[in-house]
Symmetry: C2
Subunit: 587 residues, 2 copies
């Protein structure tokens, strides 16, 4: 890595020099398909973020180009995504009035802050931080966010002016405005939703039935939102439904993304710093998950720290070109990959396609009903809603279940920022709690082997004067005292004991607190006339212990293997059977 | 435990029924000695907490009695201690003016809140929470607190009116008031300090030299503060030095502890809740450390959860009898133990002694100079200051070093509450960071054994088609992705590999995130034509895996021991030598 710093920071140099005609044709086809998919999506997510529709197009152009230069994934499609757009709306409504100039500037600032944070995390190699979002917490958060996003769009389907950022707020506000429902809007929204659901579930089997291959069938179904946009726009225009109270997108400026400046006001930055941090982490996690999944299919490797730099550049690009926070989107990246994108050039071509749309197509969407965009969002996010994680975690691990349940409930009840924070903190606390009460097993020799297992689970040989304790956790401050308590309790009940062996095969670290506990145990055992030994101490742990006086003070020995300890310390080693080749496994 | 609930919650029932004359004489002697030691200490710590001197006596009476009923330690002496008194002063000065009625009520409220928290933690069995204060953080905190406490007392030695709660504040304030120094006060303070230091360092060898036994010599040196109090009081009274500007204790009410009520004001409680929480935890940690050390000497066991109840009762007692937060003190508990205290009755007798003092002795301390009390505090706390933890942690573990250094710097620079919070949070963050990048070793067979060790550290047998990875950490969300990255990198460079074994001897837990990573690894290895096996999976981990579909989907097997895996998977098992008895250990 270090000998080619430029290529490390500019992945484009890696693929550009071997670019050929075959890659070009794959990339061009993928770009055309993704462009058609991205136009309604980007308009819709701008709406979700509370911004004018053109912001969605702008947020898809410069960011895609910058990611193509700095990102490591060849298939990732960067732009506005549902969850980040919702988080953007939540963050912005705390600092500015929706529709005001301040709101748009705050969106640029949020993207800029997020970009700077992602870049900083990338240069500091902090990509591992994303790992503290556990899979169940992410799953719970995505599910709850999907519900929140869908609920937030119902007002556009009804054509009413409701609000709220949590499920209870949304439900109350919607029920208060239910009597103002515009029935024509509702009709358009419901039909569009029904059509889009049918496209997802029913169209593909139908196309296959008519002899289309699986990939073309898949591509056509992805064009469903475009069809819905075209048809509903034509209907509203033809029947003049905007005069009947149907909300339409209206005038969208025609042109390339403008050059914009985010605000550098310290007050605004202070208000946005925490949301920007959460958006960065959530966006990064979503993006890296997709990128790694797709890279794995082609045996590519993703560099998480370089991905941070790619996404950081993309967000800074959004800040200076009229956009809002962006990240790698799941569905469009999969489409890009399936359509045959070979390199990040596919993204660059998509950006060109969106530029054409911004220049030429915007007058055509004047009569596009907002309800259609909301229908697109609802159908897209409801596919994210998946409660199976609740059952799966309940069966496998109660701690994961608690974390995922709390994440879902807090996200729905208190909003996205609280929800994800509670999930992260709770999973860390539960992890610490479990590791503070480690599993400790007393072990004996499995007859006919050199292998030692739990005396409560296996038929093993033991010796009354020898207690072997296998500690199933690293020893650190949170569990150091637990070991002391355990060993004193064990010894108090048994006067025959002369030797204690701590089998350290699972001890990956002994911190200073734990070392002091070991010293105390050694001292106390010495007072009782019992020797303390260690076995199977790992290399790194042993290196550290050798820098202390503990090994000199220790009454017993350090054995390379537990079997060595048994041979030396068990008084009747001759009764132990010799191991035989071919011992069968337990499974 | 559950079959004798009353004895569990009332440890007094355990020792009271076997109480005899021998225990009585030991307890009485210890009580007399501790009473003499506690009188100046309790006056001094009341001063440190910013309260009138009698509060120190009151805080030593009801709490001792209640602890004798509910506590499990037979030697712990409960009452005001230095660090908790300093934390009390910091907490109270944020809510009330020192010397006001509100200040004293806030002290009662703080004790009451702390008592309720300790009781709640005891009933909820949350004693393990104290384990999250690592030994180095405690050592750093105690050292820094000792410096802060000593610095806070210099104003009394100088006889000036300085203030501040951090070292920079104290230094600035003292230097501003240096010109107002009362030279007579300074003389008394310096002589008293010199005398007390000499008593600690020089008197005991002298007494031993004159033929006194070690224990009587020790007891007499502990009476040093009493001698300093008597002599300086007589000098001030005889020479009328109070008229020369020497601050004296003055009139102290004569009588038993009053019945007092803490405040139930929600505003006050909200302000004090965080300090009360920190005081509870710090007090508990200090107390349990002493209690366990002393119990270990007599092979007694301390029940941490019952200790919480004992200390909780003691603090609630303080709240209703004119005291302030208390805990088990280190030096007086050691004196109590050394003087021969057999049961908690020694504490009860100490309470009687303090009642007599409160009734009869208070007029005698009218002329006691405040500088003497401050000298007592300074000499006591400077013995707590010990920077050796810095060197020890530097040599052993950089993470511990960072935590202890931060604790010391933040305690000195930002105060006790910030200091201890930073220490706890930092040690948890560093622990998580380390466990998120686990040690992973590729292992091979140690010739002539069934034992497997790191190929980079030991001469071992390996096979080109078989890669065995020993994972030296539990697999959980923070490191799940790290394992994926590691294994994909390892396999990408080596096309000969046909079998991968994860040796799980150090894996104590596999959470749902890690299970999903294992599923992903299994799938990807299958695509590459490589089988995934597990070996030495622990009982509890195996139980959980069996509740999932992972074992069905896994391409390989689960082996009881790594040696079984080697026998089955290495193509040339015949070349492996048979183990011999008496393999020597590495140390």
């Amino acid at each position: 890595m270090t000998h080619k710093p430029l290529k490390r920071y500019l992945p484009i140099l890696q693929w550009a020099q071997s670019y050929n005609r075959q890659a070009l044709s794959g990339d061009l086809l993928a770009a055309v398909i993704v462009t058609f998919m991205l136009i309604p999506q980007s308009l819709a997510y701008a709406l979700l973020a509370g911004l004018p529709p053109e912001a969605g197009l702008y947020a898809s152009i410069a960011p895609i180009l910058l990611y193509a230069i700095f990102g490591t994934s060849r298939a990732l499609a960067v732009g506005p995504v549902a969850v980040v757009s919702l988080m953007t709306a939540v963050a912005l409504q705390a600092v500015a009035e929706q529709g005001s100039m301040g709101y748009a500037v705050a969106a640029l600032t949020l993207a800029g802050l997020s970009g700077v944070m992602l870049l900083a995390m990338g240069f500091l190699k902090l990509g591992f931080m994303a790992n503290f979002l556990s899979h169940p917490v992410i799953a719970g958060f995505i599910t709850a966010s999907g519900i929140l996003i869908a609920a937030s769009q119902i007002k556009h389907i009804l054509g009413v002016d409701a609000g709220g950022h949590t499920l209870p707020e949304l439900v109350v506000s919607l029920s208060e405005h239910l009597d103002q429902t515009n029935l024509i809007t509702l009709g358009i929204g419901v039909v569009a939703m029904g059509f889009l659901f049918w496209v997802r579930k029913g169209l593909k089997p139908l196309l296959r039935h008519f002899g289309l291959g699986p990939r073309p069938a898949d591509m056509i179904t992805k064009a469903g939102p475009v069809a819905a946009v075209v048809v509903t726009t034509v209907v509203v225009w033809g029947l003049g439904l905007d005069a009947q109270g149907v909300n339409i997108v209206g005038a969208v400026p025609q042109g390339l993304p403008p050059f914009t400046l985010p605000s550098f006001s310290p007050d605004l930055i202070r208000l946005l710093i925490l949301p920007a941090c959460l958006i960065s982490i959530i966006g990064f996690v979503e993006s890296i998950s997709v990128a790694q999944t797709l890279a794995a299919k082609k045996r590519d490797r993703i560099d998480p720290d370089q991905e941070l730099i790619g996404l950081g550049a993309a967000n800074i690009g959004a800040a200076f070109s009229g956009g809002f926070p962006v990240t790698g989107g799941f569905s469009r990246s999969v489409v890009n990959f399936d359509a045959g994108a070979e390199t990040a050039a596919a993204g660059a071509f998509t950006a060109v396609g969106l530029c054409i749309a911004a220049l030429a197509l915007t007058p055509l969407i004047y009569f596009l009903p907002v309800a259609t965009l909301s229908a697109t969002i609802i159908v897209a996010v409801l596919s994210l809603v998946d409660f199976s994680i609740l059952k799966r975690s309940w069966l496998y691990s109660k701690a994961d279940f608690i974390a995922v349940t709390a994440t879902i409930l807090f996200t729905l009840g208190m909003g996205v920022e609280t929800g994800v924070s509670v999930g992260v903190v709770l999973s860390i606390v539960l992890h610490l709690y479990r590791s503070s009460r480690p599993h400790i097993a007393e072990v004996g020799l499995v007859p006919g082997t050199q292998h030692f297992r739990n005396i409560n689970r296996h038929k093993v040989l033991t010796d009354p004067s020898l207690v072997t304790i296998r500690i199933d956790e690293s020893l650190y401050f949170a569990n150091a005292r637990f070991l002391e308590d355990y060993i004193y309790d064990r010894l108090a009940s048994d006067p025959a004991i002369r030797n204690v062996v701590f089998m350290c095969s699972a001890v990956n670290e002994i911190d200073l607190s734990a070392l002091e506990s070991l010293e105390a145990i050694n001292q106390r055992l010495q007072d009782m006339g019992i020797k303390l030994h260690l076995s199977e101490v790992k290399g790194p742990v042993m290196d550290r212990l050798e820098r202390t006086h503990f090994l000199d003070a220790m009454t017993g020995q350090v054995f390379l293997s537990q079997y060595d300890a048994w041979i030396r310390l068990a008084p009747v080693p001759n009764e132990v059977q010799m191991p035989e080749v071919g011992v069968s496994s337990i499974n």
